[in-house]
């Protein structure tokens, strides 16, 4: 479909470049090195970080922000390492994802991926305890992803039943681990949890 020039947002590039990590966007000269080396493109051939950057430079804000491919980047930084123009491609994509999340929170777009829910669930445990709490993460993420508590439990069981048993029998989680019988089952907490609260309030309040 042809690009509708009157729908382009010429300010989108500045929006990206004003965020930490997005500063070098305009250095891109479309060589495609990022995409050729990408391990995701190898598996999903339509995945194309070069194209996402070009669309951003053109100002195709809506198309970029609602592109589900944003959420299958594995943050492996191969693109960043290979970019001859030091665009820091991995960080640019992270900036675009953050803008997309804000737009979704404002009700302007819909993100077709559970990844924001996953990242939030992960960070909620860090905010609360100061450390990652796997079970807390899963208990928040799966019900939200599936839309109900029951469906969430089912999906979690399907993905993690075998894994959980392995962790149990190897003494990594649960009573066989020695020490506390609920090791790994209960969250590990830091003493200065109030500092975590301050950090998240400050960063998210911005």
């Amino acid at each position: 479909m042809p690009i509708k020039t009157w729908e382009l947002d010429p300010n989108f590039r500045n929006e990206i470049m004003n965020e930490p990590g997005g500063e070098h966007l305009t250095a891109c000269f479309q060589c495609s090195t990022c995409t050729l080396g990408c391990p995701i493109t190898e598996i999903v051939p339509s995945y194309n970080p070069r194209k996402i950057i070009q669309m951003s430079l053109l100002g195709m804000r809506n198309e970029v922000l609602s592109n589900p491919d944003l959420w299958i980047c594995a943050i492996c930084q191969t693109c960043t390492a290979r970019c001859p123009q030091d665009v820091v491609v991995g960080d640019v994509l992270a900036v675009i994802r953050r803008i997309a999340e804000k737009e979704e929170e404002a009700g302007n777009i819909k993100i077709d991926s559970p990844r924001p829910l996953f990242e939030k669930a992960f960070l909620h445990t860090v905010e609360k305890y100061g450390r990652l709490y796997d079970i807390g993460l899963a208990m928040e993420y799966y019900p939200k992803r599936e839309g109900s508590f029951i469906k969430g439990q089912k999906a979690m069981m399907k993905d993690y039943m075998g894994f959980g048993m392995r962790m149990f029998f190897k003494g990594k989680m649960g009573p066989l681990g020695g020490g506390s019988p609920l090791k790994g089952m209960l969250p590990s907490k830091i003493k200065k949890k109030e500092v975590m609260k301050k950090i998240f309030e400050k960063v998210e309040g911005k």
Binding site: I72, A74, Q77
Partner: protein
């Protein structure tokens, strides 16, 4: 070797899924006579899930500041923790304004840029040094190893301590202990898919499959690695990957500190070799 004492930053998986990495790292430190102490009241680095650099800087400034107060350098066995610590250290050293902003959140985040964060591999190979390690080796570990480095050892360039495409630090350790590195260079730094495991398991499994299959085809007895997320993906999820893709790998996955520990004469159980999901008895059997 740095004269500073070490703050050991284990990272969150050390308490659960990557217990064997934690156990073996500490056992190796003790055997080598490293003066270490666990970083007091450490917090999560934000892993790959904290996408906002400001959040990463704040979380890691606290850990760096704790080590700074004790006049210690930080060593971590986790590649993602290393990346987050190292980029925070760099950013805060370079930008006074940023440092002031972070400090404003809480006085405990006041970091003055005097700590060097290191990955365990970097510390062993470059700080302890190959000669010193060689002098402590008492056993030969005659295994064929696929050395798998993953993402944050050779890239991104700002924090890397080895080559982005063909890193060698782990290869050198494997040679040192009497092992053989199989032909694996094209897979060494390919991502394991870990960050997509909870949201796109199909892609993540395919990424892990390539690594496991390449190691198997190259004739490796095991894959050696240095990141707990890679460990979770390649070891703990290996039976799930086998089931989903209807393939059998039965490929033992060991942390490099576990292999090194064997060569230093440490008992397998004291290296947590009973905690790896895929059985490691065959690997242990090759220690002479």
């Amino acid at each position: 070797m740095s004269e500073k004492k070490l703050a050991y930053y284990p990272g969150c998986p050390s308490e659960t899924t990557a217990k064997e990495q934690d156990i073996s790292t500490k056992a190796v430190f003790d055997k080598l006579g490293v003066d270490w102490a666990e970083l007091e009241d450490w917090n999560c680095c934000g892993a790959a899930e904290a996408e906002d650099p400001r959040l990463v800087y704040a979380l890691n400034a606290r850990n760096l500041a704790i080590a700074e107060k004790d006049n210690r350098d930080i060593v971590t066995p986790c590649s993602i923790c290393y990346y987050n610590l190292a980029r925070t250290d760099k950013a805060l050293r370079a930008d006074e304004k940023l440092r002031a902003e972070i400090k404003e959140i809480d006085a405990s985040l006041d970091y003055n840029g005097t700590v060097t964060p290191k990955h365990v591999i970097d510390f062993l190979v470059n700080d302890i040094g190959m000669d010193e390690l060689k002098s402590k080796i008492v056993k030969k570990v005659e295994v064929k190893v696929a050395p798998y480095y993953g993402c944050y050892i050779g890239r991104p360039p700002e924090t890397a301590f080895d080559d982005p495409d063909d890193p060698v630090s782990m290869d050198r350790l494997i040679e040192l202990i009497g092992g053989e590195n199989v032909q694996f260079s094209y897979m060494k730094t390919k991502c394991c898919g870990g960050p997509l495991m909870m949201t796109r398991a199909d892609i993540a499994f395919e990424m892990a499959r390539k690594i496991l299959e390449s190691a198997k085809n190259a004739g490796a007895d095991c894959i050696a690695l240095a990141c707990p997320l890679c460990g979770m993906m390649l070891d703990a999820k290996q039976p799930d990957i086998e089931k989903a893709l209807d393939i059998k790998f039965e490929m033992p996955i060991v942390y490099i500190t576990q292999l090194l520990g064997l060569a230093l004469g440490i008992e397998p159980n004291k290296l947590g070799l009973n905690k790896n999901v895929v059985d490691t008895k065959e690997i242990v059997g090759k220690v002479v």
